[in-house]
Amino acid sequence: MSLVIVNTRVANLASVDFAFRRLGITPVISADPQVIRNAERVVLPGVGTAAAAMRSLRTLALVDTLQGLSQPVLGVCLGMQMLTEVSAESADGAIECLGVIPGRIERMANARNKPLPHMGWNQTQVSDHPLFAGLHDPWFYYVHSYAAPVSEFSIAQCEYTQAFSGAIARDNFMGVQFHPERSGTDGARVLKNFLELSC
């Protein structure tokens, strides 16, 4: 199985890399459009801000490449947010994202006694999407202040200061707001399911 982790230059790639290695896969870390197009699986990681990450994808001329992929693609955390149409995470207005899954990323609501970022383990309701095969009310590790609202594209739902999408998907594009690479055995199962998807 060939798997590419897209090197966005702004993300911490080591922990995602190590998580797949623990499953017996050796990822290729690359920003080369040809390498990305030819991979059987593509992972879009992300840490940092949407503005910096999208700027990096544009600089690397990867926007068209990523939008045109037909193999299974998994966005993680900010990588998930970048799959949607627009993110509000910017000092100067909204940031246009890849737009392969409909939706808009908004800052999470404030609530008394619930500090942001939403940081830690939260129990998540998952759908019957194959990404969650074998999981029942799993616990995942989240770190984020922006989120995708619940929509028809939600394949998992979580609750903090508001209900939000724990994961979203359309066709071959999937995104998880949590960090499967840091979510213990439940997270490892999600990554394993991603490798075993047929589509």
Binding site: N12, L13, A14, S15, F18, A19, R21, R22, V47, G48, T49, N113, K114, P115, L116, P117, H118, M119, G120, W121, N122, Q123, W139, Y141, V143, H144, S145, E159, Y160, H179, E181, R182, S183, G184, T185, G187, A188
Partner: protein
């Protein structure tokens, strides 16, 4: 529901995990990677590694173990100790640490917090605060260089003010170490933590004083902190992780299964 986090802390010196009493007289408790692996397997929610000599020796942590830890464990972990620049932080994050925790260098140069947040995002940046209750003045005072007793220094900051300062500069999480309680296992400083909690808009982690399971129940229930950090009770096997989590759950506290 977001779970409360149980966070074993591994103080690191010369590549081994050590533990002192009130920051002094350190004894070796084991090797880093096997201990980290064991805690992850037992159900720890997160780990923190402090290179306790780093800040006081004016050098960055010996980093080779960071990627060895990242390779084997599947829970988040933070690395602390002498991180004084964006470049040093970048190295540690690139090796697979999820967060960096900064203490003395932020006191020396508070702009460091802004620089780290701008570069890596708020979620990566934890600020550690060593707070000492001065019984004479009745005030909570911030100390620095607490890794080395000969250089430990009182700063100009009162704890409540420094908490606000680091939040204003973008800190993503605060670990409040109550020095009077550290290593003596008489319970967390619930009073101080509850006061800080009320003023703290980011996640707050309690540190210093865990000695028995009831101390964890108290600090989650009465101070409403997001996580509780402890070292010796885990290293010495005084508290078993599964027993701790069971009793917390029984006390009505949300804990990861």
């Amino acid at each position: 529901m977001l779970a409360k986090r149980i966070i074993p802390c591994l103080d690191v010196r010369a590549g081994q995990v050590v533990k002192g009493v009130q920051f002094r007289n350190h004894e070796v408790v084991g090797d880093i990677v096997p201990l980290a692996t064991r805690y992850a397997a037992e159900g720890a929610d997160e780990l923190v590694f402090y290179d306790i000599t780093a800040s006081s020796d004016n050098r960055v942590v010996d980093k080779s173990w960071v990627s060895r830890v990242a390779e084997v464990i599947n829970i988040p972990f933070a690395v602390a100790g002498g991180i004084q620049s964006v470049e040093q932080a970048r190295d540690i994050l690139a090796m697979g640490a999820d967060k960096i925790s900064v203490n003395s260098p932020a006191l020396r140069r508070p702009e460091l917090i802004n620089e780290l947040v701008d570069e890596f995002g708020q979620q990566c940046v934890v600020i550690g605060i060593d707070s000492f209750f001065n019984a004479e003045s009745g005030e909570y005072e911030v100390y620095q260089f607490t890794g080395d007793e000969t250089r430990t220094l009182k700063t100009q900051w009162q704890t409540a003010d420094w908490v606000q300062e680091v939040i204003a500069r973008g800190a993503g999480e605060i670990v409040l170490n109550c020095m009077n309680q550290d290593g003596v296992r008489q319970g967390y400083d619930v009073k101080q933590l509850a006061a800080v909690r009320a003023q703290c808009s980011v996640p707050l982690i309690a540190s210093g004083g865990a000695g028995e399971i009831s101390h964890f129940i108290d600090v989650f229930r009465d101070a409403n902190v997001d996580g509780a950090l402890a070292a010796s009770v885990f290293h010495k096997g005084i508290i078993a992780m599964d027993e701790l989590k069971q009793q917390l759950r029984r006390a009505g506290i949300t804990i990861r299964a």
